[in-house]
Amino acid sequence: MRPSFFHHLHPPTIPAAQARWRHTLGAGGTAVFLMLILGVTGILEMFYYLPNPEDAALSVQRITYHVPFGWLIRNLHYWSAQMLILVSALHLLRVIFTAAYTSPRRFNYLLGMGLFLLAILLDFTGYILRWDKSICYPLLTGTNLLKTIPLIGDALFVIATGGGEVCSNALIRFYTWHIFGLTIVAVILMAWHAFRVRRDGGIAVPPPDSRADTARISRNELVRREALAMLIVSIFLILLSIFFPAPIAPAMSASANASVTESAYARAPWFFLWIQQMLKWGDPFTFGILIPLAAFVFVALIPYLFPHIQKNEIGAWFPKSNRMAQIAIIICLACVLVLTFINR
């Protein structure tokens, strides 16, 4: 029987051992599903969101309280976005812990890092689009950090915000980045990343002669498992959306005596708390740009720094021959978590 479009995207069979939940955690596939939900809910929100400084926060309130099931769409969009960061991080960890980044998958790993970065930027730009009191501090901090970069800082600032008074011009810029600029690139990279997964031989496995288990499952069974994962993720997202509404704060105050960055709201979004903690230590360029960038580049270079893996351990969890990479990423993760949680 000739496969449907969706079925044909999958290989005819895949090794059964690597198709198990506990092997891949389904993290990559979940990330794709979350991006899909983000796209659909995002487009629905575009029907009501007004991307100008006077109306933006009020249009978000209108979506939340006055559009039928607007609250659901907004909450789904918010939780899918936060889950995407976590799921992408989980996927990154899984790839490193199973040494699935080794040749020929090193370029695909870089594509994945690009997608991770895009997911964070999309989360940040989306967060700014709320245009309420809680975003002013992160907006000013984030965009001013760009200015600290030597040589190209001011140009980058203009590209990101449109220059001038950030809190009035930046909105339309961030809107365009969020719905188009970053999204187009993310879609292209997603397609490329998925293509490379198949072209590089699918889920990382030891070569046929080193495999203990040679059982395989059909593409139909694979699709069934993906459908189950999508249903479970949907249920989880719906539960989050019903019981934990997306944050919302009052619209930015127009009155003259309201300070732009009210102290109650001087907090970075959760995925940047680790950077905010470091910024308390000193020079913004060093602690806000250089160190996070160095950490990102280090993680991106892991396939080139720790390329060695024994053939029969490819795709196995915590292979002994790749211990250094695992230790390196655990240290990075621990640093980020500690910095996040000590930030009060």
Partner: protein, 402 residues
Amino acid sequence: MRRLLFLSSFLLLIFFLFIWWVDFRQPAPVALIPSLSGEVEYCLTCHADLPEISASHPVQIFGCVSCHGGERLALNADLAHSSMRGGSNPSDLSVVAESCGGGNCHSGSEADDRHHIQRVTSSIQSTYAGAIANIRFTFGAQVDLTPVFGMTSISDNETKTGIKSLAAFHPADEENPFIQKFGAECLTCHVNAAPREGEAYARQTGCAACHSVGEHQMTTAIPYTQCNACHNRGNYDLRSMTFVERTDRPTSRLADYYQPIAQFTRCEYTLDCVDCHTRDEVMGDGDIHANQKSIQYVQCKTCHGTLDELPRTKTLTDPNDIVFRMSFLNPVMDLKLGDTVIVTEQGEPLWNTRQLPDGTFEMVGKATKQYFTFKPVMGTACEQKPDEQESRYCHECHAVEK
């Protein structure tokens, strides 16, 4: 696997029904488009049972947000209330300019007598300038009684009293422990300070301290009980810097009005405070004053005259006279062009009085709506000397217990 898929799909369907149920339970939003702003508000979704605050501020014209602030579109209490001014009291002096202010509202021009916010914020009731200056002078913190501090910092560039500004009083910065204790214990009255604990002292702050008589109610017919949230509650003991509350349990207006040691005539308890004490006295005249004595001036002779002088009057000839505007807000007396009303020594009209054809006067209590008639002192058997016009001289004969 197929069974798992079927069960999960079924569970998802259940959750869709749950979503629909959650949405169904939300209260139906109640929209209000006040004619003043033209912007829809949804406060009435939850607050429809609040009474109209006053006939002068109908909700269909003003809405809620123009005075209270808040997020007009929000249907969630926390978000809706998050940007409200002054909590439940937008007339608190820290936010009054945004809530009650505006050229067409209560911070207009002095020429039109619409500068209420500027008057109240600089009034002696708000600044406490006299009390603070007196205590600091008494305990050696300043060389004379010229006021330096007030409850909040305030400035007046067009001052007629010579006092251009006051700085904010910080008792913790004072060296003398008596002054510190004064700051901690004795500044809990009037319009700028939160009241003491206790039902007898319960009141709002800001404009609402006087004008708000019940839950979400404003009035110009202010009864004496409003004033008695601060006044006649007891006495201060300067040696220990404490307030000694009055201990009687009054059951009549006569016993309730003034504390037991006071002397007063019948009209001083039958009328309300606002029937005699004028707007300038209570709300201020726009200038920073050094103490209560320099602003409080109404006496018995203001209405009754003396043996030598009749009370001052004014005949109403201008339909735009402020008297008609004031009377309109609390029309106890149906004033018309050609009527003659009593005016005070400072020219403030007593708009609840009117001269009768025989030269006597009629008056209606602003809060009680009681009707009175009275005659001027001239031509009576009064024994008061013309230069002894303070109330204590009138009390010698007319005090209640006599």
